[in-house]
């Protein structure tokens, strides 16, 4: 448990430090990903504070911390899809993404209103995840097939890859999340640590690589312009 949390915090901090340090070089696409990272960090800390408070004062905070992720979900979806729109810079793709975002928000409102806001809206998260995966696969296609530069050097490749892997691979687990939480919370906890923990680390590590590579690219370009 502590090892997992330690690794997660370590990876977040690396991504945050790299992102914040080089943020002056960032374009809108990278700034949005940095913003998403910072929002996630706040939500992560908040969820852990709520969980710890429940252990200390179980009477006052009877609800679990899952509602925090219900707040975070539309926010994350909005930021990531906005970044995709910024990168694609294509009217047709923008229209499709806006339509998909509207569907996701509708399903989120429907799910939270039909059940409870304090229950994790897993199906909406699932739909949101699929939308993000689709949008970022289109971007990855644009990066690899249309740009056709050395893909390993392209920083956005790493960010897209991390995002796609995370949302695609947690999909099967998220689909069973609420039923596992009700029927076998221990199994749910194990799977959460194994799948979500692993792919969160992979995602933010790739985001950190993307930030670092982009800043490296920018600094080398600047030095070239300055004639160094």
């Amino acid at each position: 448990m502590f090892f997992n949390v330690f690794i997660e915090i370590f990876v977040f901090l690396i991504a945050c430090c790299v992102g914040l340090y080089f943020s002056r070089y960032f374009s809108k696409f990278y700034l949005l990903h940095l913003f998403q990272l910072l929002v996630y960090l706040i939500i992560y800390v908040e969820s852990h504070i709520i969980k710890a408070s429940q252990d200390i004062y179980p009477i006052f905070l009877v609800k679990k911390n899952l509602w925090v992720y219900n707040v975070y979900m539309p926010l994350e979806l909005f930021i990531l899809l906005w970044a995709a729109v910024v990168y694609a810079n294509n009217k047709r793709i923008t229209n499709l993404i806006v339509l998909a975002f509207a569907c996701c928000i509708f399903s989120f409102i429907y799910e939270t209103s039909s059940a409870s806001f304090f229950e994790f809206a897993s199906y909406s998260y699932l739909i949101g995840g699929i939308t993000i995966v689709t949008a970022y696969i289109i971007i990855l296609y644009l990066i690899i097939v249309e740009k056709r530069r050395n893909q390993a050097i392209l920083p956005e490749f790493w960010i897209c890859l991390g995002t796609i892997l995370y949302f695609a691979c947690i999909t099967p687990y998220i689909a069973f999340f609420n039923s596992l939480q009700t029927n076998s919370p221990e199994v749910n906890k194990f799977l959460y640590r194994l799948i979500t923990g692993l792919f969160t680390n992979v995602r933010y590590l790739m985001v950190a690589i993307g930030f670092w590579k982009y800043s490296k690219q920018k600094t080398s370009l600047n030095s070239l312009h300055n004639g160094k």
Partner: protein, 261 residues
């Protein structure tokens, strides 16, 4: 039951992971395939461009050869007849010698200029000469025009250029000299050629100069564009530098492996 769910979720996750990796690999393959197709297309366009230039060059050489022949056989012949007529007049009317000597001298000069011009236009004649000999002839012709002071410096006798390309190189030189004569208002033109360590042919004038980028991007620069394309065709590189009011310089060098890359 719990174990089965865990196993199925883990397996599905693994399957999706492999699927994503597969999709990315297929993107890479499509990208590579497109890059290859693009390279083939670029190569085909380059070959087409080269063939087009060759045909253009052959056509232009044919026209020049025809003009040279006409000048030599027809106009040259007429001038010779005129000179013979003048010589006859001199013999028939010795009192007119003083009056027609100057006309005879001008006619002699015209005849010489015409001969030199027809030689520099005739590729059959030039093919028998090397680049240096052709340039000697051209410089001699230009000196006779007395439009500007020409300095022709050659460092070696042996030119390290493919003999098939010498004619094109000479035509490029003619185009550069012609540009200097027509547009630069220069009083001096220096042409220097060195073969060692690397081939280098430099044209420098003290004319009014021009804004390189502006002129090269304008529609008027067809001559300069032609020079650049022709140098590319023979595997050489042309650098044009000019300062407004301070002359211009054109340097033709052989492409090295580094510049090819």
């Amino acid at each position: 039951m719990g174990n089965e769910i865990v196993l199925s979720i883990i397996l599905t996750t693994l399957l999706i992971f492999i699927l994503i990796i597969g999709v990315i690999i297929s993107f890479f393959m499509v990208g590579q395939q497109r890059s290859k197709q693009e390279i083939i297309l670029t190569q085909a366009n380059l070959n087409y461009e080269q063939e087009l230039r060759k045909v253009e060059s052959e056509l232009s050489e044919g026209v020049k050869r025809h003009i040279a022949q006409e000048l030599h056989d027809n106009v040259g012949h007429l001038l010779t007849c005129m000179r013979l007529e003048i010589e006859n007049k001199k013999l028939d009317h010795p009192e007119l010698i003083g009056h027609i000597t100057s006309i005879d001298q001008y006619l002699q000069e015209t005849s010489d200029q015409l001969r030199l011009l027809s030689r520099t236009l005739n590729s059959d004649f030039l093919e028998k000469l090397d680049f240096y000999a052709a340039m000697d002839l051209e410089v001699e012709r230009l000196k006779r025009l007395r439009k500007l002071e020409i300095q022709w410096v050659r460092q070696q006798d042996r030119l390290l250029v493919d003999t098939n390309n010498e004619l094109i190189l000479f035509r490029i030189s003619q185009e550069i000299i012609s540009n200097a004569l027509r547009h630069s208002n220069a009083s001096k033109l220096k042409i220097s050629c060195s073969a060692e360590p690397n081939f280098q042919l430099v044209f420098e004038d003290d004319g009014k100069g021009f804004e390189t980028t502006k002129i090269l991007n304008s529609a008027q620069a067809s001559g300069l564009q032609n020079i650049l394309k022709r140098t590319e065709l023979i595997g050489m590189k042309c650098e044009i530098t000019s300062i407004l009011g301070d002359g211009s310089s054109i340097t033709i060098t052989k492409k090295t492996n580094e510049s090819n890359n």
